[in-house]
């Protein structure tokens, strides 16, 4: 917003939030739609906007062989879900847990160990937009539920 209130939005630049990578994943989400081979499923729901997510994962021997997402939501949500599936696919459950922690730190504090972030780095801008953190987090919290073997629907509040 022009003449932005000083509260804590000092460095806002909307293209930090909507980076090209994000717009691309929004247009062409990877690993999108149901997964036939899934042996685990979990749902997520963002009550602020009503958007919903379904995650499908094929986990064998503590490794994420395949993972898909389905649902509808904003660009941040879609891109974050899409990137999450790309990152989680092929990882061990333990590695995915570490990824979750990294993501969580990134969007809540805005900073994280830059080296290890890789593709995740595009989510850094979200931190400046508290109202959008939930959009970015939904897929990750739902992944966490799958990793933990919980069946509850994730709601981001």
């Amino acid at each position: 917003m022009a003449g932005k209130p000083g509260y804590q939005y000092v460095m806002q630049d909307i293209r930090e939030l909507y980076q090209e990578v994000i717009l691309d994943h929004n247009q062409n989400p990877r690993n999108f739609g149901p997964l036939e081979s899934a042996n685990r499923e979990a749902e997520g729901f963002n009550p602020l906007c009503g958007d919903q997510l379904k995650l499908y994962a094929d986990i064998e021997n503590d490794a994420i062989k395949d993972i898909h997402f389905d649902g509808s939501g904003c660009a941040i949500f879609k891109a974050s879900s899409s990137i999450m599936t790309e990152l989680a696919k092929g990882k061990s459950v333990e590695e995915a847990d570490t990824l979750f922690d990294q993501f969580h730190e990134l969007v809540t504090t805005g900073s994280a160990d830059a080296e290890s972030l890789g593709k995740l780095a595009v989510m850094a801008g979200v931190h400046q937009y508290p109202a959008r953190v939930k959009c970015a987090s939904l897929a990750w919290h739902t992944l966490k539920n799958i990793l933990d073997g919980s069946n509850e629907t994730v709601t981001t509040e």
């Binding site: 003449g3 909307i14 939030l17 929004n26 009503g50 904003c74 660009a75």
Partner: protein, 403 residues
């Protein structure tokens, strides 16, 4: 005579446009901005006669009482109520509706009775009735709405079973202005009472509860230039007098013994505890401000902006405007094809434009429209055509980013 508003002059009364000169505020249906006349009235209480009301002997306490009761009178006049005692200060429109649901609904409804609402209600006029229906065994029925955002076939929804019709005066999603007067006549003929959710009408048009013929009438201060934390329930005095109280505590009693209590006269019977004194006084000042400008002028200005907005958005390809009611206020809900409303609103914000994205606390409408959320632009007396031009241009930009 309807005169033209001068939004440019009016804006000078609103400090927020000084703090953010480029702010295009198009979310007044959620909450309105506040003129210095209102904040001054609030400040004046704290700085000159900060005291509790109704039970004080000392001077500043008398002043506080007089100012608080004068605000009640102003609000009664503003909505055309004959008797100031029929105006109860609540914390919000939501509390006002819940007050009726508890103090009237739970005592007067039983199994088989019908509460009739509409598909275009705000959650504040749905959930209290879902809860009341559950507690009393009554049935909650809905007047359906058309794709245009108008009531459909409401005449046939009212029957002998109907005990209460609770309906919004003006839809916060479509802007639809509902035919309350006709509906109230029909409801009364069937022996039902009528509660009007006037949260969106009182701020934007001249209303008269007696002409409308409603029994209860609820609205909020913060949507009509007043402070947050104050709302109003108007009720016909004979109804209010017959009703049991809602909250118990100070102010609302006449006598208390350890065993039992007797109730104070209305409106105090329904104002338990220390009231929202400063906020009621601020709301009185908001009514003064709106009276000075003239509600007919506010309405006319918004009608002009509404047409301008519909034209501007209609010019843009790929914009779906929801509903097209014949009588409507200055609220326009829309979606940009292929772009989630929260993404659109985020880009608008980047251009300094505040619109709402979401379900607008009206999920049944969203379910009807088959969308999770919409964008909504809502205008008030401080908005200008240039605000709408900026909305138009920024939407064009958003579309280009996502294509």
């Amino acid at each position: 005579m309807i005169q033209h508003l001068h939004p440019e002059t009016i804006r000078k009364d609103f400090a927020i446009f000084n703090a953010h000169p480029d702010l295009v505020y198009l979310d007044s249906a959620a909450t309105s901005q506040t003129p210095i006349q209102v904040t001054d009235a609030v400040l004046n209480y704290y700085e000159s006669f900060n005291a509790n009301v109704h039970r004080t002997i000392y001077s500043i306490g008398n002043e506080a009482t007089q100012a608080y009761e004068a605000a009640r009178k102003k609000i009664a006049d503003f909505i055309g109520a004959e008797d100031a005692a029929s105006v109860i200060f609540t914390k919000s429109a939501t509390e006002a509706i819940n007050l009726v649901a508890h103090a009237w609904g739970r005592k007067n409804l039983s199994a088989g009775d019908e509460i009739l609402i509409t598909e275009m209600e705000h959650h504040s006029n749905i959930v209290p009735w879902q809860l009341t229906a559950k507690e009393t065994g009554g049935d909650l029925k809905y007047i359906p709405i058309s794709q245009e955002g108008e009531l459909e076939d409401w005449e046939n929804c009212i029957s002998e079973k109907t005990k209460l019709v609770a309906i919004t005066h003006q839809s916060n999603v479509f802007g639809t202005i509902n035919p309350i007067k006709e509906l109230a006549a029909k409801a009364h003929a069937a022996g039902a009472l009528v509660l009007v959710d006037a949260a969106q009408s009182v701020p934007h048009s001249k209303v008269n509860v007696q002409e409308l013929g409603c029994d209860f009438f609820a609205f909020s201060g913060h949507k009509m230039l007043g402070p947050t934390g104050v709302g109003v329930l108007y009720g016909k005095t004979d109804l209010l007098e017959k009703m049991d109280p809602f909250l118990g505590g100070g102010e609302m009693i006449k006598t208390v013994t350890m065993e039992t209590s007797t109730w104070n006269e209305i409106p105090h019977k329904f104002e338990a505890g220390t009231p929202n004194i400063a906020q009621a006084i601020g709301l009185g000042a908001a009514a003064d401000y709106l009276n000075d400008i003239g509600m007919e002028n506010v309405y006319a200005h918004e009608q002009e902006l509404l047409q301008y907005t519909l034209n501007a958005l209609g010019d843009l390809p790929g914009i779906t405007i929801h509903g097209n009611p014949k009588k409507r206020g200055g609220v326009v809900s829309f979606n940009v094809d292929g772009i989630h409303p929260h993404d659109a609103a985020q880009f608008l914000d980047d251009d300094g434009i505040a619109v709402r994205a979401g379900h607008h606390c009206a999920q049944p409408i969203m379910q009807k429209l088959g969308v999770a959320a919409t964008c909504r632009a809502s205008a008030y007396l401080y908005n200008t055509k240039s605000d709408i031009d900026k909305l138009h241009d920024s939407l064009e930009k958003v579309k280009s980013v996502f294509n």
